[in-house]
Amino acid sequence: MLAYIARRILSTIPVMLVVAFVVFSMLILSPGDPAAVIAGDQATPEDVERIRAALGLDRPFLVQFAEFLWRLVNFDLGTSIFTNLPVTHMIAQRIEPTVSLMVLTIIFSVTIAVPMGVIAAWKAGSWIDRAVMVFAVLGFSVPVFVIGYLLAYIFALELDWLPVQGYTPIARGFWPFLENLILPTIALGSVYIALIARITRATMLEVLAQDYIRTAKAKGLGTRPILFLHALKNAAVPISTVVGIGIALLIGGAVVTESVFAIPGLGRLTVDAILRRDYPVIQGVVLLFSFVYVLVNLMIDLLYTVFDPRIRY
């Protein structure tokens, strides 16, 4: 097992290198010029050129990439072109809101979606099943920002129960922290709930048709132990796979959700950096997201052994 984990962690290195190269190439080759944005409207082309030279953006592509890699192996993600702050500092400033939002969304979504999927499978064909499926279709179809604005309108503007925007660190109290994240969590969780509920239902339907479930029923076992102890445990491998894959969905959704609710997280940092062409920040955040994604998938693979002892690495 340990050898497997070590192999997987080592295998992330070439993956990250490819990601770094692709991201770097895309940024350099795509249109846009941070020097022109910094210089402002009053600047002449010569001013823009001088700023570009000062930023080192006038050097050849390979020189810039080599320098980027060298910094990377020294765990230095560089300095933001615009704020002049280290990228690691900016990421550190922004990581808590994003992690909080994602963790809350995962907890909220799994708590809601798995029982929904289980019940839909158990009551397959009934109105409950159809209601769950309608909800799932809506969750997939309605964009996160629409749900976000709708929630803000109802619960913040009309009912005045929750704030429209912002983030309060957990260190300043649990309720202020939670208050700011309830609406974003529901908005971001809608797609995730839909995804997990659908896969749970499909997998459970398959498992519930197995012979051992019929045997359990014949033994006189109650519905709850059959569903949650026998069936769900065997359906857990594909469900956990989807939960892992869904992290990518969450990352994409966090970008939108953080913008709608003005949460100062990594998603908004990414959008701001892209709009301004703040190359070091974009590279840093994309690399971080890629690393997290690779790591989460590794954890999911390891989790398989818990759900299914027949799996060995």
Binding site: G40, D41, A156, P163, V164
Partner: protein, 532 residues
């Protein structure tokens, strides 16, 4: 008590009882002493010389002070300067600083700080760039006095030191001002009324300013950038809310107090809220313009630019830019900003015709018919995007084969710098907006320069305009300046660096419990108070 405050308190008390975690504070005092402001754009850096965006200038006006500041009559008045003296032949001018001025780090403001700050500012400012050629020296005389030895007269010198358009000549400590003007500073230490709270700055989200207790204000009434700056709140928070709908909701919900530039679409919603007042904070407004590339066909032929002047109807832009409120837009048959001392309609007759029919014949005669024209369209910049569609439609109706390149502002600012033909990554036209002060006079109007490849994007050439501009700086009095500015404009209507699209005001929205706004082209927090 607001419903949410009550719920929060109840939940907090419950949570505290159950878990021992802290409950939210209910005190109103601190909230009343904090002004929460939503600026027009993200404050990504705080160096007003390196980054010349208006959002940076506005934040800098809180942190740094200037030697002079213009008042609402655009007269430069003393700020950090206590007085001036000169010798009989005007060969040496001496400026004395007010006593007791201090930087936020506790150090006194010295004349050597002033000298180094001006040296850093000059190469980045269109007016500042003119100063070195007219100076023999600028030097510190003693701790509170500095001398300027002019080589030739420069009547606009004091105005340049007190003007409000970016970059303003803010005074920094010498060690910071020694930074290359094309590199950002790393320390934010000013002598202005507020200091930056470094740990409160989360770029893209929030910036926090706290009152500087040792600020020495002038004992005069505030008037734009002049007079006594009187900050009545202890803390000013800038909340960066790029999503307009979120900012509108936050203002309605009382989570922020002042939104600098709401979108026109959202104004009716804000006006319906009895707790919100919508007004104009910047009386000088903005100017729309349609910039032409003079390096390549078809706009290398001035006949075509002149024909466009005949066709444009500025009224068409009103609806696109300000919506249904006619008081926010006015036609302006001038290159100079409406309300500026240089404003004139000299040579503007073609712009008053508004006749696409009259334009068609000269356009066809000039060979414009069916020619491909690339227009850059910044779709993420609401005002520019709105006004961009109108000339696009006009060009299509007139004769050209228009390619509208819809992209983000970041790409537009890069592509507009390209001098290549449009089929090799260049461009032919792009709409943009300017702050009113940017077109106040020939000193400010970089877009009016006609020095070809050395000039602003579009690169028009006219030796006559350049000569007039030089003469304007040396004009001995206002009448002379006004006459020369009229001549510059008349010639500009022949060269057509851009087509003026009218003058519009930007609305600003704030909670009614916030009072004391001083309307100015720079966002000012002086005199503003907030009731609990």
């Amino acid at each position: 008590m607001k419903r949410r405050t009550f719920i929060g308190a109840a939940a907090g008390v419950t949570a505290a009882a159950a878990t021992g975690l802290s409950a939210p504070a209910l005190g109103q005092g601190a909230a009343a002493r904090t002004l929460r402001f939503v600026p027009q754009a993200n404050l990504a850096n705080s160096d007003p010389i390196w980054g010349t965006q208006y959002v940076v200038r506005n934040s800098s006006a809180l942190v740094w002070d200037t030697l002079y500041g213009v008042n609402s009559r655009l007269e430069p008045k003393r700020q950090m300067v206590e007085g001036e003296a000169h010798d009989a032949g005007f060969k040496v001018r001496t400026f004395r600083l007010r006593a007791g001025l201090k930087f936020h780090d506790g150090e006194p403001v010295l004349s050597r700080d002033v000298v180094q700050s001006l040296i850093r500012w000059m190469p980045r400012d269109p007016m500042g760039q003119l100063i070195p050629a007219r100076l023999d020296a600028i030097e510190a005389a003693d701790d509170r006095a500095f001398r300027i030895r002019p080589k030739s007269p420069f009547p606009k010198m004091i105005f340049a030191l007190g003007k409000n358009n970016a970059p303003m000549s803010f005074i920094m400590p010498e060690r910071i001002a020694k930074t290359d003007p094309f590199q950002p500073i790393t320390e934010i230490v000013g002598s202005g009324p507020m200091r930056v709270k470094r740990d409160g700055w989360v770029p893209g989200s929030r910036a926090v300013f706290e009152r500087f207790a040792d600020y020495v204000r002038r004992e005069e009434a505030p008037d734009w950038l002049s007079g006594g700056t009187r900050i009545l709140v202890d803390r000013i928070e800038w909340h960066i809310l790029p999503e307009a709908a979120t900012a509108a909701a936050a203002l309605q919900n009382g989570e922020v107090d002042w939104w600098e530039t709401p979108l026109p679409d959202l104004i009716p919603v804000l006006r319906r809220n009895r707790n919100i007042a919508v007004d104009t904070a910047d009386p000088l407004g903005n100017i729309g313009s349609f910039r032409l590339n003079h390096l390549h066909p078809p706009f290398d032929n001035p006949e075509i630019g002149r024909a466009l002047l005949l066709a444009v109807n500025q009224e068409d832009y009103r609806k696109a830019v300000v919506g249904d409120d006619p008081s926010m837009f006015s036609t302006s048959h001038s290159y100079w900003s409406k309300g500026s001392p240089m404003h004139t309609e000299a040579g503007a007759e073609p712009l008053k015709l508004r006749s696409p029919e009259r334009a068609r014949a000269p356009l066809q005669a000039a060979g414009c018919s069916g020619r491909k024209v690339v227009q850059l369209h910044a779709s993420d910049f609401p005002t520019i995007a709105a006004q961009s569609r109108v000339p696009a439609d006009l060009l299509r109706r007139l004769c050209v084969n228009l390619e509208l390149v819809a992209t983000d502002w970041g790409t537009v600012v890069q592509r507009r710098a390209s001098r290549e033909p449009s089929d090799r990554g260049g461009w032919n036209v792009f709409p943009t907006t300017w702050a009113g002060p940017d077109w106040f006079d020939p000193a400010a109007a970089v877009g009016m320069r006609t020095d070809g490849l050395n000039g602003w994007f579009g690169w028009p050439t006219s030796e006559k305009i350049e000569a007039l501009r030089d003469a304007w700086f040396d004009a001995p009095n206002f009448a002379g300046q006004k006459r020369i500015a009229a001549g510059i404009q008349a010639e500009s209507f022949q060269v057509v660096p851009h087509v003026p699209l009218g003058h519009f005001l930007s609305p600003s929205a704030m909670r009614r419990n916030v009072t004391g706004l001083i309307k100015s082209p720079v966002v000012l927090f002086d005199n503003m108070a907030k009731a609990a």
